[in-house]
Amino acid sequence: MIYLTEARTASTEEITTFSDVLYPQKAHFFADTYSKAGSGMVYPPHKLAEKVLDPVLMKTLRENPVKTAFILASGNSHFAGLNPKDKEPNSLTYDYKALPMTLTQVYAGRTAAAFGANDLVMTDASACASSLKVMMDIQSLVRMYGFERVVVLSLEDAVSNTVLNFFGQSGASLTLAKEAEGCVRSAFDPTNEGFYVGMGAVLAIFETENSMKVTGFKPRAELVSAYSAGENSTNAIGQREDGEGFKKAIEGALYAGRIQPFTVRTVKTHGTGTRSNNVAEKTALMNTLKDFVATSFKQRIGHTMGASGLLETILLLDNVKNGFVPEIPNRTDEDVIFLSKPAPAEKGGLILSLAAGMGNVYSAAIFKDMQC
């Protein structure tokens, strides 16, 4: 069996307004990651990663070696700082002098070494599904190839000119212009919709019993099952509204884990709150599960892109430990499924986490809470 033992997260509910980008908008931003970035010697994604790279945890793993893989789930590859400049220099403009350090696999290899993860180093670029997509990889590594431990680090350069411009232009993130029309962040709501972009990072350690014997770590959850799927679409930056991709991912995870749909009662949705995701994800869930409550975190911490799937799962596990599943902010109607109010948590229950990414990738992972 595979257990999620230790995890570290970085995200913020604080909001910063960026008026000097092409599509002015708010974002969940760690200003300190950009401190001295203009010098070309400080790379903001590295500073963000340092918020979750716990030296004590790294040393413990290094000093207790088992067959270990390291995965950097770097999402849309914006970790590599693609075109961080805007047309005119602004508050997010930076360049980086040491180009090798911007390459995801180079960064992954260096960070893996600090964990003593010398048996395999991988990167994943499955867009905003990345950190959940690698749950499928973890299962393969452990069950087919004898790995005892997998370290997952996930983050990307989410609040950058490139991302703010892309999301702003496509109408995916809430711009100041849309907010002026009265639009407020929410998901699965008939009136409010959307998200801000957010900076976030997650570090999670997955172990077998054998690895846990040497680290002494306790399980927070069991990774019961995971599956990723594509969908039949001619639009690589859109979603089918019949939820084909989400449905295939959910059904794949249920089948792989030999899980009956009625036993999954808690769902962490992808929950961007865009109209297309609302329709697609809701349709898929209503056609696969039987009796569940669903929440979304992107309206609280923003869309942390590649990191979002796993990061939000850890946040939900924290909430479940405290006895509740949080509501989806700014719902305008009462809803006991896509929660308009917090609901009691099912401790020890199964949690389905969903994520979707551009390029038609959909990921589902099922965890069993073990914190009670």
Partner: protein, 94 residues
């Protein structure tokens, strides 16, 4: 007279990831391979040293030190300025 070992250690602290274990250095003549620095640490240290000694980026790319002393030898050859104190040197790390 500035302690060059101390400056090197302070620059290494700036250049290395925050989780790195503390570097111990008794001599500037230790081969870099034996210091515990990895290749990217060495690259970043070179960039910071170039900043401190006012060496242009194009010239600093030619730096190929084999020991901490190697950084200072290169800087001595190409410097356009020289810090008089540790504080001044670190202040010049932009």
């Amino acid at each position: 007279m500035m302690d060059k070992i101390q400056l090197f250690l302070e620059v290494a602290k700036l250049a290395r990831p925050i989780y790195s274990e503390e570097l111990v250095l008794d001599s500037l003549n230790v081969p870099l391979a034996e210091t515990g620095l990895d290749s990217l640490d060495c690259l970043m240290i070179g960039m910071y040293m170039s900043d401190i000694y006012g060496i242009e980026e194009e010239i600093s790319k030619e730096m190929q030190p084999e020991s901490p002393q190697g950084y200072y030898d290169f800087c001595e050859l190409h410097k356009t300025r020289e810090p008089s104190t540790l504080e001044e040197a670190l202040g010049w790390c932009k």
